[in-house]
Amino acid sequence: MNAVANPIEKRNERYGKYVDSVTPKTGTAKSLWNSFWIGGITCCIAQGVGDIYALIFPNFSEDMIVNITSMTIITIAILFTGLGFYDVIARKGGAGCFLPITGFANAISSASMEFKSEGLILGTSVKMFSVVGPVVVNGIVWSTVAGILNLLILGRF
């Protein structure tokens, strides 16, 4: 068993070193700074859109303002993905581009566009959630758990 495992481990180690030597070195500090300011600006834009909506529709509830704000920035992000702008920003922004909700939208639309060539049903429709699937599934499962636990623990008082 060991005789088989060792060469494989050695090969993996060599491969790891090779990958390290080939991956482009963008300095840690620089990529952190890029994701910081790009993520920060994304959040500020969303805040601005929300503030503008609050001014235009003063009688909307706070929840509704949040909803139309996220719908707006999601639509903008998907439009940017379609036009090819989002990739350009994402290459620089790293986590600053995929952690905000715009990144979620970008992941859905880029997966759906990428598999267009396999057809609208078997390509686009099947693969649309291939990237964000884990997020949606885990979100539904654990939020349901949170809801049930909350009802069981706090609902009695």
Partner: protein
């Protein structure tokens, strides 16, 4: 005075939102986790924050800085699930999260489909 307040709000949004993204970037660099795993970790953090009732005060402080990163999506799911469970009993827990986040997810799916029909993927 209100202008100063506004600037302060945006500074908070920028700082908190940026810090979240920088933290995610640091996780990618240090642990080599894939972005999908990072997203799930932050989402679960959001669900947990909302579940323990810590999310609301953070949201009042940081506003879009915390609600725009995926943490806000998780918190929104949990909030919806908890609220509907309180209203209609335990079956509400299954629907509440989806109902509350359906605006964003719905428009994301429809807009993605429309964009796919209109544009062709370009080579990278």
């Amino acid at each position: 005075m209100s202008i100063l307040n506004g600037i302060f709000t945006y500074a908070k949004v920028f700082a908190v939102g940026g810090l979240m993204c920088a933290l995610a970037q640091l996780l990618i660099i240090k642990t080599k986790l894939t972005p999908a795993r990072i997203l799930v970790i932050f989402l679960l953090a959001g669900v947990a924050l909302e579940g323990f009732g810590i999310y609301k005060p953070i949201n009042e402080f940081a506003q879009a800085g915390i609600s725009v990163p995926i943490i806000g999506f998780g918190a929104s799911l949990a909030r919806g699930s908890i609220e509907l469970a309180r209203q209609v009993g335990f079956i509400g827990a299954f629907a509440g999260g989806l109902v509350r986040t359906a605006f964003g997810v719905g428009v994301a799916v429809v807009a993605s489909y429309a964009v796919t029909l209109i544009f062709s993927p370009r080579s990278k």
